[in-house]
Structure formats: C-alpha cells, structure tokens
C-alpha cells in the first residue's frame, strides 16, 4: 500500500510529462523504512563544452520516525556512502551535507541527520560528453534508524539526456534547488560574518565557538554541529545570543587521558538556525586560551574575565537579602520606614535582582544561571521557614546556615559556569 502510494505520483508524472521527463529521476529503491533514488533538475541537461557542473541529488523519503545521517552521525549510526561508477563524461562527484537536525536517543545519546525527506546534493563535474545521454550509476550504502537500525545497499541509476537547449524539470528542479539552498555557506563567503574557536583548557576542556555578525531568525534556536574529531568527543552545546551574534560552548571529552595534547588541532563546525546556515573549519590552539577574538590576553584582561560574573552574583545575593529583609523575612523588620514604603523598597530590590540576573545571563551558562536562581529561591525558602520556626532555635540556626550557604554558593557557581 505504501509502495503504491509512493510510486503512483511518479507513474502519473512519468505518463504526463513530455518525452525525456523521466530522465530527471531514476527509479525508486524502496524498503519499509525508506525510499531512495537519484535525481537531477533537468529533463535535458546542458551539454558540457570543456568542463561544467551538473547538480544531482540523492533523494530520500523516510517513514515517519526514521532518520538518515549527517556526515557526523553523532553517538551512533553511519552517514550514507555513495560511490559513482565510471561514467563517460562524468569527471568527479561530491556528496554534500545540508544543515542537519538533532535526534535525542535513549540513554542520553544523540544522533545528527534528517527525517521525513532529504535530498543530499551531489556536485558532479562534466567533461566533454560523447553522445546524447549520461548514464548515471551509483552504489549507495546507508543506515536508516528509528529505535532500531537497518542498513541498506542499492545500485541507483538515472539516464540523463544532454542537449544544447537545456530543459529544467518542473518536478525535480525546485526540489534540488531547495535542498541546495539548505547547504551551509562557508563563513568566509558571508560579508560581515566571522566565526572562530577558542579551546578552554581545564579538567573538562571545552570549545567555545563564536559567530559574529549574524543573528538567529526570530523564534529559532541556533544549533552547533561539530564534525567528528580524532582527539575529542563533543558533548551537548549550549548557545547564548550576544549583541552581535551567537556563542556556543561545547564540553569536550578527550579520547585519551594523561596524554599530552597536540599544540593545535582543527575543528570543523556547522551552525544552523541562522539565515543562511554557515560552516567553518578553524585551527584552534590547545593548552592555552588563545588571544583572539576577545580582548583577553593581558593579565588584567584574564583577571577581568575570571572574576567577571562574581560581582554580578554577589549583587544578586545582596538584592535578594535586601528584599527579604525589607519584607520582614530576615530578623526584625525596619521600624523607621512605613509598611508600604518597606514593601515598595522590597520590590525595588527585587527589580535590581531581576536586572542583575539578566546581566548574569550574558556572563554564565544557562545551566549556571538556573542553579543560581534555584539558590536564591532556596535562600528565600530558608528565610521564610526560619521566620516560622522562631521557637525552635536549632532549626532556626540550621536554616540561617542554609541561607548563608546559598549566599556563598551563588558566586562560586557563577565562577564555575562563567562564559569567557
């Protein structure tokens, strides 16, 4: 039934289209999880004189819930491998990778790839072509996964007519173009956009990727996808938007502990959620914090970077304590100020707190900020409980201790989770 549904529109198109239209797409190879075929955007492709580019596509349709993979498949899986057979007139081919999406798997594992439908663009280079047709043939190996995974291998074919008067195919040309547009653009080709990487050393090293000069589309969360690396496994990236771009922090797990790291290494990444998605490959020095791109590098700047979130966290704690005190939750209320005035001042302290937290959101990670907010809530809870436990000195003391511990822990957590 599913096969009939998939093939019927193709059959109708084939019958209705002008002579040669079927050549824009090879036959589908179908299984219960997926269908795959070779497509081109041309009913009649331009004949190459000298060399020329021919855009092809590896077109997948996937059963709901199943996915195929990006060039870095993530924790498991495997990207498709396509090997084109020797074709007279076809000089070289390159499989390209549209911006992927992230799939959360059981056990905290992740995979990167595509669901529902994807066209992997293939850049083919033509030379002087003998005859009027290009007989395309490619062996494709791919893995399709849902909860389970199934590997498949097919030989795909497409017969592409060539001519001096090219004719685009109305069905496949928009499809190939749409997926070609979803290819990330090299950052160097985007005017005003820069991206760089900084490796933050430490017990848990992390890679900080900065993108300047471009913002995510409204309501879209930017995503960072690192290509596989031979020294590190990458953890879950955290994104933070800044005034002029996005900053990602990715925890890195070395494959080998206790081994001296190379002095520099290359990371390649794709950033999605921007218009357009971008890709970059950068050499990132290891072992020290590189000077670029921030003004860090001098001892004073390093110190500023190190202590930057601590004053903010202390101010947040002070504002919380002030609000609690003014609202009568810490010790005796202030008798010199009227009740309404006291409450108003308490709200002013709360406003200072919110402004400070907004400022902190640019200096510490989201997780760090969440912990700081939890600590402040715990402080308030301790103060409230202590007020109700005045006749129990031991409990009251313990709650005061908890309040003080939360107050001290907030700047410590801000320091631990700082973004430099």
């Amino acid at each position: 039934m599913r096969i009939a549904k998939t093939l019927l529109p193709l059959l109708v198109l084939t019958l209705l289209a002008p002579r040669g239209a079927a050549a824009a797409a090879g036959p589908w190879s179908t299984n219960p999880q997926s269908s795959v075929r070779l497509i081109t955007p041309w009913q009649v492709a331009p004949r190459a004189s000298g060399t020329g580019e021919l855009r092809l596509g590896l077109h997948f349709k996937l059963t709901p819930g199943w996915h195929v993979y990006w060039k870095n498949s993530g924790d498991a899986g495997f990207p498709p491998v396509v090997v084109f057979g020797k074709t007279p007139g076809l000089q070289s081919t390159e499989l390209l990778w549209p911006a992927p999406q992230r799939f959360e798997l059981r056990g905290g594992l992740v995979a990167f790839g595509y669901e529902t439908e994807v066209v992997y663009p293939v850049r083919a280079e033509l030379t002087n072509t003998p005859g009027d047709r290009l007989h395309l043939s490619a062996d494709v190996d791919y893995l399709v996964c849902e909860v389970d995974c199934v590997p498949y291998r097919y030989t795909l074919t497409a017969d592409q007519p060539l001519g001096d008067a090219p004719v685009p195919d109305p069905a496949t040309a928009p499809l190939v173009d749409a997926w070609w547009k979803r290819l990330p653009v090299a950052a160097e080709r985007l005017p005003g956009v820069t991206t760089s990487g900084v490796l933050q050393p430490g017990a848990t090293p992390s890679l900080e990727v900065t993108v300047h000069g471009v913002h995510p589309a409204p309501g879209v969360s930017p995503g960072l996808f690192l290509e596989a690396h031979d020294t590190f496994d990458a953890g879950r990236p955290e994104a933070r938007t800044t005034d002029d771009g996005v900053v990602f922090r990715v925890p890195l797990k070395p494959h080998e502990v206790g081994k001296p790291l190379p002095r520099e290494t290359v990371f390649a990444w794709t950033v999605t959620g921007l218009t357009p998605s971008l890709e970059a490959k950068r050499t990132v020095p290891l072992g020290t914090v590189p000077a670029a791109p921030s003004p860090a590098g001098t001892p004073a700047a390093d110190l500023r970077s190190l202590v930057r979130p601590i004053p903010g966290a202390l101010l947040a704690v002070a504002a919380t304590l002030a609000a609690l005190w003014l609202w009568g939750l810490l010790g005796s209320p202030v008798s010199q100020i009227s009740g309404i005035g006291r409450e108003a001042l308490g709200f002013a302290a709360a406003a200072v707190l919110f402004a400070t937290l907004w400022g902190l959101s640019r200096q510490v990670s989201f997780v760090g900020l969440a912990w700081i907010e939890l600590l402040l809530l715990a402080m308030a809870l301790c103060a409230w409980l202590r007020r109700r436990a005045v006749r129990r000195p031991a409990l009251s003391f313990l709650l005061a201790l908890g309040c003080a511990a939360c107050a001290l822990a907030a700047p410590w957590l801000a320091h631990l989770n700082r973004l430099t």
Partner: protein
C-alpha cells in the same frame, strides 16, 4: 519529623549544588582505570572484572538484534579473535533495557550464541549502569583493558562499518590492539569512533 525533613531537603539541595559544579568524568577514556563491575551472564553465572585481574580483557558491547552486531556474529569476527587470543578474556555486555523489544531472554540468548559459535560469556546490564560507566554508545563498541586494569583501546572493531570489504582487507583495530598489548606496546590507534546501532539503554 518536619525538622528532619527540612534538614534532609536542605542537605540534598546543598549536595546537588555542590555536585553540579564538579567536572565531568571522562568515562571509558583510554588511560582511565576500567570501572569495576559484577554482572550476571546469560548462563546464570556472575562475572566480575576483578576476577580477571592480571589478564587482558576485551569488553564488547553487543545486541543480537542490531544488524551490525549480528553481522559480526554471523561472520565470526569476535569469536575468531577470541579463539586467536586464547590468553585474553572476552566478555560480551548487553546493556539493552529489559523493557526494550531487542531484549533477549536467557534461553533465546544462549540459542543465538550457540548458533553463531559464541562461547565467551555474555553479560546482562539491563539497567545500563555499566554501559554508562564506560560511556558505551554503539553495538558493537569495543574496549581493551590491560592486565593492570587500564583501558588501552576504546572504539570500533574495524574500519569497515558497512561490511563492504572482505574480512582479510579490513583493518581490525582490536586484533592490532591485542597484538600490541600482548607484545608490551600501546595499541595504535588507541581510540577510534565506534560505529553501529545506538545502545538501547
């Protein structure tokens, strides 16, 4: 009683906050001490890593319902290596959750192993605890533990994820790693990217 509850909650909160700041542990990384475990095999016996101190141990994360694991079982990739290195202990570990459809009951598992000539122990880790200790991601995912209990290899079984090459053409990382380890050298490469299905935690 309320006092006890409040104290407990406060302590839990503070402990949680303290733990959140600790750096992540590099589970299963080469050079780390192999995490200890004690697991029940499909044969009903209990196996502990500590039992094999002084011997090299290969740990193979496995799932017979994963096509990658199954292909290697049918091709005898692991069982041939197990025979080749008789002095090395080989343990299969299956971290498939008991509620997952890939989970095999002991009788079915033993029949599968017999059919594929697998004579080394296969251990159940249905809670996934040991899998997470080693950060096992795929089936198969291979580890070599040296006689001193250090992880000396972490990664794929070979360089042929889709099984396109002939067995003799493949670079078998575990074969090379065991030859190096038994010859007193470090496996090279010591770490590769494992391939296969995700572990069904």
């Amino acid at each position: 009683m309320p006092r006890a509850r409040t104290t407990t909650a406060t302590l839990l909160l503070l402990t949680g906050l303290a733990l959140s700041g600790l750096p992540a542990h590099a589970n299963g990384a080469v050079g780390e001490t192999a995490p200890a475990f004690s697991l029940k095999g499909v044969d009903g016996k209990t196996y502990s890593l500590a039992d094999f101190k002084g011997k090299a141990v290969v740990l193979e994360w496995v799932n017979p319902n994963c096509p990658f694991s199954d292909r290697h079982a049918r091709e005898h990739t692991m069982s041939d290596l197990h025979k080749k290195y008789g002095q090395v202990v080989w343990l299969g570990i299956n971290s498939t959750s008991a509620d997952h459809r890939d989970f095999l009951k002991p009788a079915d598992y033993q029949a599968y192993n017999t059919k594929n000539g697998i004579v080394y122990p296969t251990l159940y880790d249905a809670t996934g605890k040991v899998g997470h200790l080693y950060d096992a991601k795929t089936t198969p995912h291979m580890f070599i533990v040296d006689p001193q209990g250090k992880i000396v290899y972490n990664g794929a079984i070979d360089d042929d994820p889709m099984g396109r090459k002939g067995k003799a053409e493949r670079v078998n990382y575990v074969d090379g790693g065991l030859t190096a380890e038994l010859g007193g050298k470090q496996p090279n490469p010591a770490a590769t990217k494992p391939y296969g299905c995700s572990v069904k935690y």
